[in-house]
């Protein structure tokens, strides 16, 4: 399991720049974004559409890279890594939970959870043991043989969470994890994330529009026009 929270910055962005080109026009998203998140923190990022939340999450996930500045997670300098190195980093250091679960439909729940473990040198028996353990952890014990199409949204998101944590990454990134769920299912998912942060020490960065989801985090950052406007700490 990961280490408990400390004050040392685990995620550090210094003067990060990012922009897009629409035709010939350059559209800046971040001109000099700074952010530090200590290990074991649970940060919710809120903001209106187009504020740069998803772009920030994509950069933290290493699936997009900054145009300038420094982006460090743990000891990894993501801004200096090539695509291959970032793939390897994602496989070992980060788990991601998507809004629409993004499970592969032709695989069972257990096989979906097993996917990240295929990137590790583990025997099939060890992989199966880990999958069973995390499915148990997210409350889906005995449901591993079911296909995603036969599961509710809440259950699919639990499978998504299990897939994100099965390789025991220190960092969990969540992109609107309750955005497609009813209130009850959303509550269950948020409770799960809180458990992963409080009990297992995962550092969680969650992008959300939902104030209720944000209230589960230790800190909430409001992002607008490429800048953090305010920070609210949980009581």
């Amino acid at each position: 399991m990961t280490e408990p929270a400390t004050d040392a910055p685990y995620i550090a962005l210094k003067a990060v720049q990012k922009g897009f080109k629409i035709g010939a026009e350059a559209v800046p998203i971040f001109t000099a974004l700074d952010l530090t998140i200590p290990r074991g923190d649970f940060v919710a990022i809120m903001g209106p559409s187009g504020s740069g939340k998803s772009t920030l999450l994509n950069m933290l996930a290493g699936i997009d890279s900054p145009d300038g500045g420094e982006l460090r997670i743990g000891s990894a300098r993501l801004d200096r890594m090539g695509e291959g190195a970032r793939s390897s980093w994602r496989a070992h250091s980060m788990g991601i939970v998507f809004q629409f679960y993004n499970l592969l439909p032709m695989l069972t729940a257990a096989e979906n959870v097993e996917l990240p473990l295929l990137l590790k040198p583990l025997a099939a028996r060890d992989r199966r043991a880990r999958v069973e353990k995390v499915l148990d952890l997210v409350g889906l014990s005995g449901r591993g043989g079911q296909y995603p199409a036969l599961m509710s949204g809440g259950e699919q998101q639990r499978v998504g969470i299990a897939r994100a944590i099965v390789s025991d990454p220190a960092l969990l990134l969540c992109d609107e994890p309750t955005g497609d769920l009813d209130r009850k299912s959303a509550g269950g998912v948020l409770e799960m994330l809180r458990f992963l942060n409080r009990k297992l020490g995962k550092t969680i960065v969650m992008v959300t529009h939902d104030p209720r989801a944000a209230s589960c985090a230790r800190r909430t950052l409001h992002l607008d026009k490429g800048q953090f406007l305010e920070e609210r700490r949980a009581a």
Partner: protein, 380 residues
């Protein structure tokens, strides 16, 4: 589920499409298996010997050579043994049921051609028991339903007996099997002394001498020296290996090898176009999922391997089915077609399965790895 299991599951996500692709591959390899089996079989030249030499008249296949050439051939340097044969072509029952009879001296034939034809001492002893006895090849006996002890009549097309009849009576003394499955056994071996004594014309002539070179003697050089020996005689010779002879014979009708290569080539090019096109579409449909896999940490190399494994799986199953069907067809077709699916053909087919699978998978695989993760995730 292992890595290959993931590739297999990807392939089977649209079972009908995958099954149809496999059928395409299976048909392509069925065609390949059958054409290559024909080329390699007893109707083709692949099973013919490259050592045995046939000495025939340079004037053409229909012209005979005098028996008087025998002592000069036997005395030629590099010759280990010489046999001879006279051809008698005819039919049994219906005219379309063509039978080839090779009349030879039993002892000589056993010395020169015995190992290739599988002429065991017991068979040769049976043949020498009476002058009208013959040995029938396994393929021909199976096709005609003939058995040892049976009397048969071959009606010759152009070799009448001295009595004016075209019917030749023989008694089957035994069945010869041939050295291997690709040996031509679709003919009858008769005794030369019987045929020579009874035929109305062409007495003491042969259609060909069969020469076995001594150990270490080049068959090509020996062929040239034999032809030089008779270059200025009344009947110059043309000496070829058995394989060259058969290839030249088959080319009289058409260049079978070229036709087969063109058919198989067109077959595989069509197959490649169908499979590549389908797989490119299949991978494009899955761009989003490939984006998810990349987000989970699957590198470009792993995605490439995944798509290639999927195409190889389709080719392995389809190709395996095609080759199994080809094998079944060669067995069902019986000996008359002389199809032989030899291990060499299977080895080539497996190499083709792997290389075509890799080539077919490469274009969709490259398309899959080129798509940036962010773009792929937006394609939902």
């Amino acid at each position: 589920m292992g890595y290959l299991g993931l590739a297999r599951r990807n392939a089977w996500r649209k079972p009908l499409r995958t099954a149809l692709l496999m059928v395409c591959v299976a048909i392509a390899f069925l065609i390949y298996g059958l054409t290559a089996s024909f080329q390699h079989g007893s109707q083709g030249a692949a099973g013919a010997s490259e050592d045995l030499l046939g000495v025939m008249s340079a004037a053409g296949r229909g012209q005979s050579l005098p028996m008087a050439y025998l002592p000069r051939l036997e005395a030629a340097p590099g010759v280990a043994a010489v046999a001879w044969m006279a051809r008698l072509r005819g039919f049994a029952g219906a005219e379309s049921n063509v039978i080839a009879v090779s009349a030879a001296d039993p002892e000589r034939l056993a010395a020169v051609n015995g190992p290739e034809l599988g002429l065991a001492p017991g068979l040769m002893a049976a043949l020498t028991g009476a002058r009208d006895r013959v040995l029938v090849g396994h393929a021909l006996a199976e096709a005609q339903g003939w058995a040892p002890g049976q009397r048969i009549t071959v009606t010759a097309f152009d070799t009448p007996t001295a009595a004016g009849s075209r019917d030749w009576q023989f008694e089957i003394a035994g069945i010869f099997e041939g050295a291997g499955p690709s040996t031509d056994t679709y003919f009858v071996i008769a005794r030369y002394d019987y045929v020579n004594a009874l035929r109305a014309r062409g007495s003491d002539s042969v259609d060909a001498f069969v020469v076995r070179p001594q150990e270490g003697v080049s068959s090509g050089e020996l062929a040239r020296s034999i032809d030089a020996l008779f270059a200025n005689s009344a009947a110059p010779t043309r000496t070829q290996t058995e394989k060259q002879f058969l290839e030249a014979f088959l080319r009289q009708f058409a260049d079978v090898g070229l036709i087969i290569n063109l058919v198989v080539g067109a077959d595989f090019v069509t197959l490649l176009m169908i499979v590549i096109n389908t797989l490119v579409l299949a991978v494009r449909e899955r761009r989003f999922e490939i984006g998810v896999l990349k987000t989970l940490g699957f590198s470009k190399r792993r995605i490439l391997a995944l798509v290639l494994a999927e195409t190889l799986f389709i080719f392995a199953v389809g190709g395996g089915i095609g080759l199994a069907l080809a094998k079944g067809a060669t067995l069902l077709a019986g000996a008359s077609l002389g199809l032989v699916l030899a291990p060499l053909i299977l080895g080539k087919a497996i190499a083709l399965i792997v290389s075509l699978g890799a080539v077919s998978g490469l274009i969709p695989a490259i398309s899959a790895i080129r798509s940036p993760v962010i773009t792929a995730l937006r394609t939902r």
